[in-house]
Symmetry: C2
Subunit: 201 residues, 2 copies
């Protein structure tokens, strides 16, 4: 990594941590620069606008989700529906550990940004919609495999994957509101069981 | 209504509309005063802090939800599980109409505030948790009636009501991210069917 890449990475990581633990609006450039130990001029060299920074933060969060949650959860050592259950178990542990170190349960970083910014920034809204589509595609893949092996039948797979994503986001929203990771464990069992049926033919 | 009550009401309604269509952090006192046609001194007489204002805004939103959604949805002219379906149908119409007049689908005002503020304001977080508990209690009541009439059996009713609330919040989050009320119609059918079973005895 060049020094330039390293500086950029420090800015993105600092912004990611600050925004995730508070909110987009509550975090300013000065605070990000202090935490990243960079000068403001350097910040604006990499990120002319806060929107540019936000897109880079979302990319960094997406990479973190992929590596820490999606890849281990959806590894093929388990049958497909069990992977969905493992996904919730991993998220529970992640939220519990993050809450323990932060003092607050932080929820889904993409859901947080979506509800704060969706009415005000179309670029960020579309970026978040693409992240959600990527997560939903993992659920769809598991459901398709479950159909192939005869575990599910007559299910509208894209709609069911979207319903699972909705339920997941809702669980994390309620867990954040309660500041209690046990909400995830209590409500988790319904996640892999959600179904939206195909219309009767 | 006295003139004093009228002034207070105008401030709360203006703040409610501005915050709901954007975000808590994005709306300032000056803008609220302009919209409500009141002086800043008057604003601070009623609301010494933005937190005081937020609590009044949440009360106003809660009253609106009760009158426009919960009372008509859970009227006893339909069997209990059909009331849950009517609840989603009313929410769909409300979000569709609000999106048409605002240009953006606004989602759940309580979910919006929860994700923006839950890590930073314990008073507001607890207030929002109480609003969610009130909504969940309506679902519980319908589920209890459905159990009495033999429509459901072996279900953990408090957990199922919480799961329904989570799914509802998630649907509204995804609809807001997609800026598309049809998300509610597409995912709605699974809402009244979510179940968390009692542990096998």
């Amino acid at each position: 990594m060049t020094q330039e890449q390293d500086t950029r990475q420090r800015i993105v990581n600092s912004a990611r941590d600050l925004i995730y633990s508070r909110s987009y609006a509550d975090v300013g450039v000065a605070e990000i620069c202090t935490r990243a130990a960079v000068k403001k001029g350097s910040f604006y060299h990499f990120f002319p606008s806060k929107q540019d920074l936000s897109l880079a933060v979302i990319d960094a969060l997406r990479t973190g989700l992929e590596e820490q949650v999606l890849i281990p959860a959806f590894a093929r050592d388990l049958p497909p529906l069990h992977r969905l259950e493992r996904f919730i178990a991993i998220l529970y542990e992640f939220q519990r550990d993050t809450a323990a170190s932060n003092g607050h349960l932080l929820g889904c970083p993409f859901g947080n940004l979506a509800l704060e910014l969706a009415t005000r920034d179309e670029v960020i809204r579309h970026k978040l919609a693409a992240v959600f589509a990527g997560i939903q595609a993992r659920f769809e893949q598991a459901l398709k495999e479950a159909r192939t092996t005869g575990q599910i039948d007559g299910v509208d797979i894209p709609a069911t994957a979207a319903a699972m994503l909705a339920y997941l986001e809702g669980i994390l929203l309620l867990a954040k509101t309660a500041n209690d990771p046990e909400v995830i464990r209590r409500l988790g069992p319904a996640f892999a069981q959600i179904r939206i049926d195909l219309p009767a033919s």
